[in-house]
Symmetry: C2
Subunit: 631 residues, 2 copies
């Protein structure tokens, strides 16, 4: 077939030290493309049911895609997949930065990592060559220091480093991957998986620029984006970052506060991106080739907290979890805790949510100063949040219990503590509230890697951008607070689209379903321009659906059923205060939505992909492996 794409995949067996290069046929690339799709292919093929997430048999896929490194906004993304030590199901996390493009320039589309090195190593990849190098001297170092050391010993300041911090080394199940010391593949503990393999980092550098099938067409798309950004629906994101949405979330009662007891917060403006821009913002950073510059870099040199700009600045979700979740309105304290998370390699969402849950337990007397080693875990105490973040990163004292994860710690503390949990499949809910974006109630429940805000389009877009949403065959805009059949379709279709974005490996701000710089038809044009494939949006949606089905199939193989697709008790209790006062998700709507979603997805009544659906998606090999039901 006259396709235009060629690429290489590096297989790394850390037990044997073997490095193997695979060059799949182009039809394979067109079918799996990169990211989630490519990663899930190798994770499913390389692991068996019941694999220990922290054992050498687990496979960690670090994936780019067919478009990574192309000169257009929003394409420099790295995706990580492996069995998650946090959820026991599939893990998935995405990040931007310069590492992804640089890894592509180093000559590869993916790094498929299995086994365990006897002693710490790091992988060095440069211009098509790869080697494993000793990392004993880097072990224990925080991310900024390790990155500097690697650059120095390899003698090139332009090397990009994706790595784990001390939290990953210590197997904290929500340890993340960090690149540039401030970009995180945050969720589901991919850092612990990498740590369990004794792999400290993947350092990349190269000049192997990918071929562009139609450079003129791509350049025209890039120029269009640069011109349209100021008038686009993400213009404000460009100016104030994701932090700029704190106030808006609070206004609709959708800013999770006090461990999700409320959707409003007393002083939201103290944490909002506008305040950040006016005070501690040092610069707006970006990812390779992107005009948006949404990334915040903050610096604090005065007051109780020094914050080093090397570690970036807090995103909206971080301001939520380490801020409003914990009742903290001190931007400096949140920025400090954010810095610590990036130094230690901790997911800021999970870390903040776990601390907020502990504060809730503390307030309810479920834990006391005796448990915490003398730290008073009171809502609003920014110092306690900073201190607890450090203790988690070091697995020190009470931090060692919290380092196990919210659901795991709650199981140790008993039913009262479990009532206060705000996680699905063990993965804490990010700072977007299903109470006021009801389709997220469904997505949080059914998303294969637990509660996640980057797995579908949020409800307000249905009303705000009816003409954009309409191209997903959603012609009947629904209010934010209902979960009917139309909303199930909305969640399902946009979930496939976001799985597609995580497979093509592009940023959801730039290429999203509704809040976006570029729309779906431009995504089609971009993939065509880069690869030379005459793709259609229909084909691409199938690529996204395929990725989703592979993740669900992984979970099914691990024994997941409908029982895992449930929400924590808090969501069914009325919120307090503000516009969402008294609002709760109902069990009745979930009782309707989950089975309706399964059936529309072509899955069985336990949410497992049925054989015909897998065969339809060209995943007959997976149906065979799972011996799954015939309908």
């Amino acid at each position: 077939m006259p396709y235009g794409y060629r690429g290489k995949i590096l297989h790394v067996d850390l037990s044997s030290g073997a490095l193997t290069v695979e060059e799949p046929p182009e039809s394979f690339y067109r079918k799996y493309m990169g990211g989630q799709g490519l990663g899930m292919y190798y994770v499913l093929k390389g692991t068996s049911a019941g694999v220990d997430p922290l054992g050498p048999e687990n496979v960690l896929a670090l994936t780019l895609s067919v478009v990574t490194g192309a000169p257009v906004s929003g394409q420099s993304r790295v995706m990580a997949n492996a069995k998650s030590p946090l959820t026991g199901g599939i893990g998935d996390a995405q990040a931007g930065g310069f590492w992804p493009a640089q890894a592509k320039f180093a000559g590869f589309d993916a790094f498929i990592i299995k086994g365990r090195a006897e002693t710490p190593v790091y992988l060095w990849v440069c211009d098509g060559e790869a080697e494993l190098r000793d990392a004993a001297h880097l072990w224990g170092k925080v991310t900024g220091e390790a990155e500097a050391a690697i650059r120095e010993e390899l003698g090139d300041p332009k090397i990009e480093v994706l790595q784990i911090g001390p939290a990953g080394e210590k197997l904290v199940p929500y340890a993340c991957l960090i690149n540039m010391a401030n970009r995180a593949n945050g969720r589901t503990g991919m850092g612990a998986v990498m740590g369990s393999k004794n792999l400290k980092a993947v350092a990349v550098r190269g000049n192997m620029r990918p071929e562009i099938a139609d450079r003129k067409a791509l350049s025209s798309i890039a120029r269009w984006g640069a011109k349209k950004l100021p008038e686009s629906s993400i213009a404000n994101l460009s100016i104030h970052g994701t932090a700029g949405s704190v106030l808006a979330q609070n206004e609709v009662g959708g800013l999770p506060s006090y461990n999700w007891d409320s959707g409003v917060f007393g002083n939201p403006e103290r944490l909002d991106g506008r305040t950040m821009s006016d005070t501690i913002l040092k610069e707006r950073d970006t990812c390779f080739g992107c005009v948006v510059r949404c990334k915040r870099v903050v610096e604090i040199q005065e007051g109780p907290y020094d914050v080093d700009p090397l570690y970036g600045g807090p995103e909206y979700e971080t301001l939520g979890t380490l801020g409003t979740y914990c009742g903290v309105f001190d931007l400096a304290a949140v920025s400090k805790a954010n810095e610590l998370c990036n130094m230690y390699g901790l997911d800021t969402i999970t870390t903040g949510a776990v601390i907020a849950w502990a504060m809730d337990c503390f307030e309810h007397g479920i834990i006391t100063m005796d448990d915490t080693g003398g730290v008073a875990l009171n809502y609003g105490d920014g110092d306690a949040v900073v201190r607890m973040t450090e203790m988690i990163g070091n697995r020190e004292g009470f931090g060692d219990l919290l380092a196990e994860g919210m659901a795991q710690a709650a199981a140790e503390l008993g039913p009262e503590a479990e009532e206060l949990v705000t996680a699905v499949k063990g993965n804490p809910m990010p700072a977007h509230m299903p109470q006021v974006k009801r389709s997220l109630a469904l997505i949080y429940a059914v998303n294969p890697y637990g509660a996640d805000h980057m797995s579908s389009e949020h409800d307000p877009a249905y009303l705000a951008f009816p003409d954009r949403v309409a191209q997903f065959d959603l012609l009947d805009p629904q209010p934010v607070d209902v979960l009917n059949a139309e909303k199930v379709r909305y969640a399902m279709y946009t979930q496939r689209y976001y799985c597609l974005l995580n497979t093509i490996g592009v940023c959801q701000f730039v290429w999203g379903a509704a809040w976006q710089l570029y729309g779906p038809s431009q995504l089609v044009d971009m993939v065509r321009a880069v690869t030379g494939w005459r793709v259609s949006l229909w084909e691409l949606m199938k690529v996204g659906e395929r990725s989703l089905n592979m993740m669900r199939a992984f979970n099914a193989r691990e024994g997941f059923t409908r029982a895992e697709d449930t929400l924590p008790p808090k969501l069914f209790k009325p919120l307090s205060g503000g516009p969402s006062d008294g609002v709760a998700v109902s069990k009745e709507e979930m009782g309707f939505a989950v089975p309706a979603y399964y059936a529309m997805c072509g899955w069985d009544s336990e949410g497992r992909p049925a054989r015909p659906k897998l065969e339809e998606l060209g995943l007959g090999w997976l149906a065979e492996e799972l011996s799954c039901s015939s309908g």
Copy 2:
């Protein structure tokens, strides 16, 4: 929503004489669009289970679409839907010509016709006004004469007439609709339905040109098509018409001959379009706005058969059914029989196939000269074909039995005759052989209106145009003679696309999935340019899937189950001669393919759309009405 489309639908109640204009909201148009989609909406809403296809309660939908009449090739199509008197399930037939565009200029997108006039009438629609007029003086007239009479009495030679001929008046269950005296909504007896309502014709004329949202973009698409035609994959179609494929079909053993006993024919060149071009072709005609000019006009003034150019010329399928099916290689005889079909308003495919079946019965001694009233029905006798066509049109003698339909006549003659039937759901197979295009075995079996060649892409395209087919997520080209899971996907996806084309109301030659002038992404651009809607191919594929599901739901309501989705015995018997000698469809592959297709479609094990699929397609109202199974 900021959509750009406005349109009107004319409801005609022939019993009361009431004419009512409906102006649906734009979201309705975007969801159902026109053609099959719009027609099925009204047929389903307007009829109940068990409706008599020839009773006043049946609803006949004559539909255009949101793009009809736009200045671009391949958009002037009229679609007809109603319960079929031939199959007992849904009927569906499409035609081109100038009538569709003229009907749009007359101010309407659809004519929804119910009831029965006491005496013959015709509908006259001009510039947004409509009236029912007496047609007693037209009843009994052949199409050319009736058309001339209507034009004369209304005093405008530019009036376009869609009508039934004497066959429709006499309720021949495979009577068709004819416009321009030579374009046919051929299949499934829509002419009988119109005849049963005492409606002779719908005459249209107008100057209400539809608005074009982006005239410049549409003009650019039109110019591109005019320029690319000579180098496109339908260049030969443009030169020699569909008739130009006789030789190619024969070469691969896919030219049904002698009532489907063989896939080759002794003298294919005698019937091929090249011979036609060199001999009896008078001109190449076209449909409104189309540059392709595939339509043949033949004229014969010498020899045993006069053929009037008013009635056009035979298509490939007609050369098959009235020619090779019957062993006839006399182009003049076939052209004469074609002319008679267009005069009487008979479907050429069904008429030829029924005669061929009768010849097979004659050869087997199942019928004799006593039955036929002295006509020797020998293979190869062109005169017998011409004579029998006339007898069917007049319901005269043995023609009256054949006028009941192949399956119906066979049921009267007994099991031996039924063994020779070449129909599915009573609808005879057109001149494309599943033996050498195996996905058609599935499509012939499961298509809601019986065996049809315009309901999916044929197999050779998978190998001939892999890059075009790839955009349907079909990346693994399959040979023509297998029916595996990949082929089931190929049939299913392209079936949805062809349902889309029959809903948008565009020609499959111009806008097809693979053999085409324009590809799917240009279809998206065209619909955008005309309507102003920002549609995607994904959305459009859902439109097609919706239409298909509505047709299947109609059949389910009529009690159709898997038992109706079967093939005639002939297909399982080896062919004789040529490249397809010994080839047969196997029961094993059908036993795999049909249930696999059902499951992939989201239907139950009897092929009925399950509630979740209908709800996914925004057809919850239909699920309610059917009280269909929940999965």
